[in-house]
Symmetry: C2
Subunit: 512 residues, 2 copies
């Protein structure tokens, strides 16, 4: 048996052994319990699950101080940020209770029998039903918003799908604590045993994804991790959907009009965005396009000044700190070997390595020519580093944008009332992103009905979102009932039911 | 260069060489043209593409006789069936023009800026946009409804995604002809060059799926074929969505009340269903659960009588005929080696091999005990064969159902007013299918808003449908605009636009 340690990244010391790594047999039992819970969880109905989600939020809030204390000890993210994360998760749980009460997510569609040019049509009634037990892999960088509590968990439970959580090795105590709070609240709310399960350990994560009871996987992490889990799924006799939120560069483009208008302000705000949470955000802006010339120089100077006095930042764990050191060393090497094809130069004068303390990273800025961006500048580097790409004309800018990998976000800063270049940028960026941000920064991802947190590979591997109301769609699948007697239909598909939006004979009706 | 032959399955002779196999370079040029067409096709707008779809239907209908003649020569499906297929495709094209005019498929969602418990929320506006060029693989068994013309093509063009078609080797002349008709009609309608492309040959299909311009793949075919394409996709630097409709057993369960009520009628109708199109339907019922006893015997006798006089049926091609011979031989071997674990017995007295003429198959019926179904009885066998599983009590029936692979459909025949057993069957079958059919047969798949033609693996590999209005969702992806100035928004996301359904601040509004 191998113990799972909870490590304090500020000291590098193991504080406690949280649990034993979950064995294959234990994973099997947990998955079977989840499968057994699927029917009763669905039977709670939309109102029952809406109440459950509200109870889960209340239970997390009741233990807020304890949760934040443990999470801060394990992640060093600070109590302000962690309180915000917990509030966000509770807000998201309550948003999904609204989504359930609204019922539009069911996509209820009814075609009554009738004659068509193709002959008589049967009675067809379609809606979405829960997909079955979901494996949710916690993310290292969001212990409370994309982990045991978070958008994947909230949307799966809302859908009516039990959740088996894979605790992240970087915050196992936080994961275990939150799991226990959710499981107990769930029990008290009358949800079935098995609504929540948790596993610890790398092997247990692989076992989980391979288990036949698991019907979908939610994952926020690296491309490498995502590819490894996808490979396990491809080996299953029955492959299942995998929802991976993987890697994102999040380019920000500043137009000449914008930089003429507010260079210093953009520089200061951008510095705050890329260093937020020690740059450990999937939406961290990793590449900033700034026009060549004096206005652009002012913007770059503003960034340099903003980060000059920042202390080395504690990273989530030594693995991430090491990756940051490797990534920034590669950027520095590209800068040192600058040639016609690789004109990367350090943008500040400080040592470009992480601190020699464990798990700490110095914020860094590199500059390059947009005409000759080295490959290192277009790969995500987790941590407080960004590359400024200077561009001299629009053709150069457009060519550089066309060479970028897709991202979760793409941002345009424009001048007051400016439309031509922003329109062209919108056109070019839309195919490479899931969210277009104007005159702002990508790091805030509001929980809302209209949010989309996704994008073409490598941002994600599907057309779905992991934030916002439509995240629920990942854990549902359509079923059509043909000529079913009314008493065998789910309530929402019966003629007399009218409190959800329904499309009947091709016409959408809102709830009454 | 290798020529692509058009073979007459009735004679086994090559009638003509349709084209040369498409080279890798040619595939590249075709995909590039599709990519170049993506913007202009989207710019046609919803009304423009709705008109285009109507024009495509009209153009196909104008060449109906020629299309049906070529298709019948290549597939031997008969002119009645092929005329029906063409009508179905035209109906589907026109349904998607309705879908476009309605606009609900865009999932327009607007959250206006405001204060939330999480602080100020930006203006967020979400809708679906075209995914980009789509590769559509024609199916051998539906030359006009799931091939060059068909649901994948109609839904992709509706979405605004150009289509590159992979012609099926079993009907290349039909594919080429239909492609030319669609391409010409598309040109006349003002759609961009590159809206349609076509490739021939196995290698060209692999090149197509690997090409970076292709953003999604629609496929109707075997699990083996689907797995091979998925493996190519996994090797891409940027994996893309693959929509495979793969394999389906389509179980039909008859309750004791139903068999007491109408054994002979169900037997005759079932025989017509499993032999329709020589059993070459993804929705062919491959397994029929009939209660043991005299009523059930009458049903089985009715099937035997219905197929006794059927002539050997011409299959689509020699490959399918050979697979049929292998599959039915395996069923016969399982019957011959009947033991406690494998009690399969031939249900009729005729020779259980395909005719020795090329591409012909004799309709066959096997019977087995539901308590000891051999593995061969739960695998799809393409062609006019089915297995009748006799069951003695509900526990035996339920255990057998729980052991079945998921299917596109599952069907229940119940007695007049019967609810208890049908309710239990509905509960058990729903997790294993995408469409529940009552008192009917699965072979008809109506084109409608509420249709779902999909299901858990191996029926399909996603939660999507390839028939009906929501098939369009496969070729779209969401984008959210954050704090965008109105003039950079698509029309449907602007404040004043109100002719599509929109969810605003969480409340769904229908079009005015």
């Amino acid at each position: 048996m191998t113990g799972v340690p909870s490590i304090d990244p500020r000291s590098g010391r193991t504080v406690e052994i949280v649990a034993e790594e979950t064995t294959t047999e234990q994973v099997g039992a947990i998955c079977s319990a989840a499968l057994a819970a699927a029917g009763p969880l669905e039977d709670l109905g939309r109102d029952g699950r809406a109440a459950l989600l509200d109870d889960l939020a209340t239970a997390l809030e009741a233990q807020r101080d304890r949760i934040v204390e443990v999470a801060d000890r394990e992640t060093a993210l600070g109590t302000v940020r962690l309180n915000g994360e917990l509030s966000r998760t509770c807000y998201q749980l309550r948003l999904f209770s609204e989504v359930l009460r609204d019922g539009g997510y069911l996509e209820v569609t009814i075609d009554r029998p009738g004659d068509t040019p193709m002959g008589p049509r049967p009675d067809l009634r379609r809606m979405l039903v829960p997909i079955g037990p979901v494996a949710v892999f916690g993310a290292g960088n969001f212990p409370l918003a994309f982990s045991v509590p978070g958008g994947d968990t909230a949307s799966a439970i809302a859908a009516g799908s039990p959740v088996v959580l894979k605790a992240h090795h970087s915050h196992p105590a936080t994961s275990q604590l939150c799991y226990e709070i959710l499981a107990e609240a769930s029990r008290k709310a009358g949800a079935p045993e098995g609504t929540f399960g948790i596993v610890h350990g790398l092997r247990a994560g692989a076992d989980l994804v391979a288990h036949p009871a698991i019907r979908a996987v939610g994952f926020t992490g690296s491309v490498t991790g995502g590819r490894a889990l996808l490979a396990i799924i491809e080996q299953r006799p029955e492959p299942i959907p995998f929802y991976g939120e993987l890697s994102s560069l999040n380019p920000v483009i500043v137009t000449p009009a914008a930089v003429a208008d507010r260079a210093e302000r953009i520089g200061a705000e951008f510095a705050a965005s890329f260093t937020l949470g020690a740059g450990q955000f999937c939406t961290k802006p990793g590449l900033l396009f700034v026009p060549a010339g004096a206005d652009g120089d002012r913007l770059v100077t503003a960034i340099q000044e903003a980060i000059a006095d920042l202390e080395p930042m504690v990273m989530l764990n030594n693995g991430i700190a090491t990756s940051y050191q490797q990534g920034t060393s590669a950027l520095a090497a590209a800068a040192a070997g600058a040639s016609a094809h690789s004109q990367l130069t350090p943008g500040d004068t400080r040592d470009q390595t992480v601190s020699d303390q464990p798990a700490r990273a110095t914020p860094l800025l590199f500059t390059a020519s947009a005409a000759a961006l080295p490959p290192e500048a277009t790969e995500e580097c987790f941590g407080p580093v960004t590359v400024v790409a200077r561009w001299t004309d629009e053709a150069e800018l457009f060519a550089a944008l066309d060479g970028l990998p897709p991202s979760l976000t793409a941002t345009v800063h424009r001048g007051s009332g400016e439309t031509d270049l922003p329109a062209e940028l919108t056109h070019r960026l839309r195919s490479r992103t899931g969210r277009l941000v104007y005159d702002g920064y990508p790091t805030g991802v509001a929980v809302a009905w209209a949010q989309h947190h996704g994008g073409p590979w490598p941002a994600t591997n599907t057309q779905h979102t992991s934030v916002g109301a439509t995240a629920i769609r990942r854990f549902l699948r359509p079923v059509t009932w043909q000529n079913a007697p009314a008493d065998l239909l789910p309530p929402e598909l019966r003629d007399e039911y009218d409190s959800v939006p329904r499309r009947i004979d091709g016409v959408l009706h809102t709830r009454l």
